[in-house]
């Protein structure tokens, strides 16, 4: 007993307390207008907490850094501030690393924290908030379960903790660090005050993120590149000849060029096990320490990029093992998110072209998924029907009334097939096609809807474009990323 207290006394001065590593983060977020992509929408601000790690790195969520135009670090008592920059960010895992932009400022007064070893179900953790005067406010919570959580980009699941805690709702948004035995164990991303339940990003994911970011070249989490559905339906199982003692996930889509596609996985395969873990009919496996977990953890929660994992599948009633070399998911035809990316666009003579993305469709409002333009929604739900010959889907999104667009004012949501006879793979290709001078001086733009062909006077549209520039449009095009 005596020996133990001695040991604690000895250790304490070395170990920084959590509050010594806390930093306030104020970020100013600004996104581009979906309908007028050359403009930005009014800025918003977001506040949260970060944790200082050794090497003057500050860990926070991607939600705090995504689309930020200015990030500021502030001392706990809000008296000192320094500007910061993003050094690594993972939108899907919802993690970001910040660094001071120039001087270290008040960071020199703080003590960095270290990363805790993995937690176990039923562990107690401490959630930290800051009072206005800078005093830390900690709440003890208990890990109720380990689950795969989607905390920022919808549909991307990563290991997290579901924590029961009764927290005080402070002015900060819910990006709060969680500690266990003075070490960082996770980041809280949301809190439900009614049920007193919060979602916390796990230390397992944080460690993998930090390791990846170490060399300054962040790669991201691997992905198989498949879509699946469950096999609980007994008749479906019978049809698949799935034995009663097996689980199984039915593969509904295999992304071309993805890890699974390269390994030879096919639509209609039934995944029976991944890396030796049997997958049940709802997609769960038994983790030795964490209990039942959703299968993507076997891809994203441990193996690094480039590692090989065996996958056991049932194909035409026969079992077969394939080996997938894990890589990042291939760039999809319709990007699911565009954080920190200015959406590419091109204006020609008043015709506005954009690359189709999920954020563009979401801008159609609350009911976008059913009430948006049907032809564009179909691309999102069945990209395989549009993938041939395309990297991105170029859409004539709107028509600005000009001399060159007389009679076209009501055209919108037209998918571009070709320009001057050349198929359009993406916006840069469209730009190139429109730069060539057609033989009769008229650009021919082929689309998927009535009137199927749109004609644009080349010299008139060039003149209109010049007009746009003199009338204050900042730019007529943005291809790939913004400069």
């Amino acid at each position: 007993m005596k020996k133990l207290s001695f040991a604690l006394l000895f250790l304490q001065p070395l170990m920084a307390t959590p509050e010594d590593s806390l930093v306030r983060i104020n970020s100013t977020i600004q996104t581009y207008s979906a309908s007028q992509p050359w403009e930005k929408t009014p800025p918003r601000s977001r506040r949260g907490l970060g944790t200082l790690l050794p090497g003057n790195r500050i860990l926070t969520t991607a939600a705090m850094a995504a689309d930020s135009i200015y990030i500021e670090l502030q001392s706990a008592d809000s008296t000192k501030t320094i500007p910061a920059k993003v050094t690594a960010i993972d939108y899907e895992a919802n993690l970001a690393l910040l660094a001071p932009d120039a001087e270290l400022g008040f960071l020199t007064e703080l003590k960095p924290t270290v990363i805790a070893p993995p937690a176990k179900p039923d562990d107690e953790i401490e959630l930290f908030q800051l009072e206005t005067n800078g005093d830390p406010l900690s709440t003890t919570g208990k890990i109720r379960s380990m689950e795969l959580l989607s905390t920022f980009v919808s549909g991307r699941y990563f290991l997290g903790y579901v924590v029961k805690a009764s927290m005080q709702t402070s002015g900060n948004s819910f990006t709060l660090p969680a500690f266990q035995k003075q070490k960082l164990i996770g980041i809280l991303t949301s809190y439900d005050s009614k049920d007193q339940i919060c979602d916390v990003i796990s230390v397992d994911i944080i460690s993998a993120f930090l390791k990846d970011a170490e060399n300054g070249n962040y790669e991201g989490f691997p992905s198989l590149g498949i879509a699946i559905t469950t096999t609980e339906d007994p008749h479906f199982r019978g049809w698949l000849k799935l034995p009663e003692n097996k689980g199984g996930l039915y593969v509904t889509r295999v992304l071309p060029k993805g890890s699974a596609a390269k390994a030879g996985m096919r639509k209609g395969d039934v995944i029976l096990s991944v890396s030796g873990f049997a997958i049940d009919r709802r997609g769960y496996f038994e983790h030795p320490d964490y209990g039942k977990l959703f299968w993507p953890h076997l891809v994203r929660g441990g193996p690094v990029m480039g590692s090989k994992i065996p996958i056991e599948v049932l194909r035409n009633g026969k079992e077969k093992t394939i080996e997938a070399t894990l890589q990042k998911s291939p760039s999809p035809l319709v990007p699911g998110y565009l954080y920190d990316e200015a959406p590419p666009f091109l204006i020609k003579g008043g015709l506005v072209f954009q690359e189709l993305s999920r954020p563009y469709l979401e801008a159609f409002g609350k009911d976008w998924a059913t009430r948006g333009p049907l032809n564009l929604l179909d691309v999102l739900s069945s990209p395989e029907d549009y993938e041939k010959g395309r990297r991105r889907v170029v859409v004539l999104t709107r028509v600005v009334a000009t001399e060159a667009t007389i009679g076209y004012d009501r055209l919108a949501s037209q998918i571009i097939k070709s320009v001057n006879g050349k198929p359009i793979k993406g916006l840069p290709e469209l730009a190139k096609s429109l730069e060539t001078i057609p033989k009769n001086g008229i650009h021919t733009i082929e689309t998927d809807k009535e009137p199927y062909q749109i004609f644009l006077d080349q010299s008139l549209s060039d003149r209109v474009d010049q007009d746009f520039v003199t009338r204050g449009l900042p730019s007529l095009k943005r291809l790939y990323k913004a400069e």
Binding site: A227, T229, E232, D233, P234, H235, F236, G238, W239, Y250, T252, R253, A369, T370, L374, N375, L377, D378, S381, S382, A404, T405, I406, G407, Y408, N440, I442, H443, T444, E450, P451, Y452, Q453, I454, F455, L456, D457, L460
Partner: protein, 496 residues
């Protein structure tokens, strides 16, 4: 737009109090004819009992209801009224002015696309001697007209006066898909007025048919060109519907577009942006043709023509024609001027976009799964959200999808049962294949599912679905019997 119009048919609920009153007073037999019957005497009250099928439960008998409307005698045993007054009727009773005797009638011709119907009495004798109302011409703007009928608010004939305030092309809400010429008047037209004549100088200038929920004191009447077209269409004993060219025009305003089609900048000609496959213009017109004239009338770049000094859409020419009539077109194709002639024909596939009446909903019931062909009635009943279904519905005619699928077969319901407990995720989707065969119509789906040598598992695939719905054949017979009994279905299919 369409929603703002309400049909002015008086539902039964409103008049039940009145009919109760009628019972109290002694019912006299035929009241004697007035010495000199007037125009008013030829305006009759129509009482309708209806049975409207419920597309959500197609095996049920539907909703029994009814109401009243107005009609008027235009010839020997010919009573004109609105189609919506007599649609889905089980019984029609006609009452003369100043009489309580109800005379049984039936529909002879009904035109849902222009909301007109001609009904006849089982026995016209009691009505003989009444004057036949003459169908007149178009009233002028600002002239006075009288609407005659049996609207809500009393038992006897009502006459209201109003002024012609607008003559326009507008929606006919009965079919939810058609637009024709309409006259707007400021007379108060109320429920029960439907089908009544609107007269001027002793002649009919229109048939009262709809109101506007967004405006007060506005009534709409069907003008006589539409009435006369209906009467001419049925003169051969059959109603053939309005005709359509089956093309999508696109205005040729853009100078570059005009240049691409080798047209001078003279504001003439409209582009054919699409030709409906299988429609009257299929094989005669092509996408990219420029129409210059229709039946000798020059077409401008917006697709308008001038008839008798009036500036109207070129479709007005087709509006006035009948099945089998010819339309002469002058067009430019790849720089060459061509003269073409097309023959108008009925195009039944476009009715998928109109509300259907007098039809028994078709369905096939298979072990708890309900399959129905898509049409506007079904769409109105189920509010489908599936993207593929909505896309197929939108493209059905314009892209000629009807060629591959005569019926768009939808899994509309899955009845709860131990067999179907995991099948719910597929409702509202379009069936693409059953047991490997592409589905073209409801009957074929029904026959494949009920084939004599069934496979161990029936696999039903859906358009845009991520996996097939699987039904083990061994469990089908018992489940079919069990679920039909539970839900109260007596007939497993209605295929016609």
């Amino acid at each position: 737009m369409i929603r703002t119009f309400t049909r002015i048919f008086l539902p039964l609920v409103l008049c039940s109090a009145l009919s109760a009153q009628l019972k109290d007073s002694p019912v006299s037999p035929d009241s004697p004819l007035a010495p000199q019957p007037t125009l008013y005497d030829s305006v009759v009250k129509i009482e309708v009992a209806t049975q409207v099928p419920d597309y959500r439960t197609p095996w049920n008998s539907g909703r029994f209801s009814g109401g009243t409307g107005t009609g008027f005698i235009i010839g020997p045993n010919q009573i004109l009224t609105n189609a919506h007054v007599v649609s889905d009727n089980r019984r029609l009773l006609v009452t003369r002015r100043g009489s309580s005797r109800k005379h049984v009638a039936r529909v002879r011709h009904i035109a849902h696309d222009c909301d007109l119907a001609l009904i006849e009495l089982q026995d016209f004798k009691p009505f003989e001697g009444l004057p036949y109302l003459d169908i007149g011409g178009m009233p002028t703007l600002e002239s006075r007209v009288s609407a005659i009928g049996y609207p809500v608010g009393g038992e006897r004939l009502s006459v209201t006066q109003g002024v012609v305030s607008r003559i326009d092309f507008s929606s006919y809400s009965h079919s939810r898909a058609d637009s024709h010429l309409v006259i707007q008047i400021d007379a108060a037209i109320n429920p029960g007025n439907s089908g009544g004549p609107v007269v001027q100088d002793g002649k009919v200038v229109g048939v009262a048919f709809q109101g506007n929920t967004q405006a007060d004191n506005v009534g709409y009447i069907i003008p006589t060109p539409v009435v006369k077209r209906f009467l001419r269409d049925i003169s051969d004993g059959n109603y053939d519907h309005y005709m359509d060219l089956g093309i999508s025009p696109f205005p040729l305003f853009n100078p570059a577009m005009r240049q691409a089609y080798q047209l001078p900048a003279d504001g003439k000609g409209v582009l054919v942006a699409n030709v409906v496959p299988g429609g009257p213009a299929d094989g005669i017109l092509e996408r990219g043709d420029v129409l210059l004239s229709i039946d000798g009338n020059a077409i401008d770049s917006a697709g308008n023509i001038r008839i008798a000094g009036e500036f109207v859409d070129m479709n007005e020419i087709v509006e006035r024609k009948f099945a089998g009539d010819k339309v002469a077109l002058t067009l430019i194709r790849k720089g060459k001027t061509l003269d073409k002639e097309l023959t108008l024909k009925a195009f039944p596939y476009s009715r998928i976009y109109s509300i259907q009446y007098e039809e028994v909903p078709r369905y096939s019931f298979f072990a708890g799964l309900v399959f129905q062909p898509l049409n506007l009635n079904l769409f109105a009943s189920f509010k489908f959200n599936d993207r593929r279904l909505r896309q197929i519905f939108a493209d059905y005619v314009s892209r000629g999808l009807f060629k591959k699928m005569e019926d768009v077969v939808v899994l509309t319901r899955v009845e709860n049962d131990r067999l179907t407990t995991r099948m719910g995720g597929f409702t509202g989707m379009v069936v693409s294949k059953v047991n490997g065969k592409e589905i073209k119509n409801l009957r074929q789906l029904h026959e494949i599912l009920n084939a004599p040598n069934p496979p161990e598992y029936h696999a039903i695939e859906f358009n845009g679905g991520n996996r097939p719905l699987v039904v083990p054949n061994s469990e089908v017979p018992a489940a079919q019997k069990r679920i039909m009994a539970q839900v109260g279905i007596t007939k497993a299919a209605q295929l016609d």
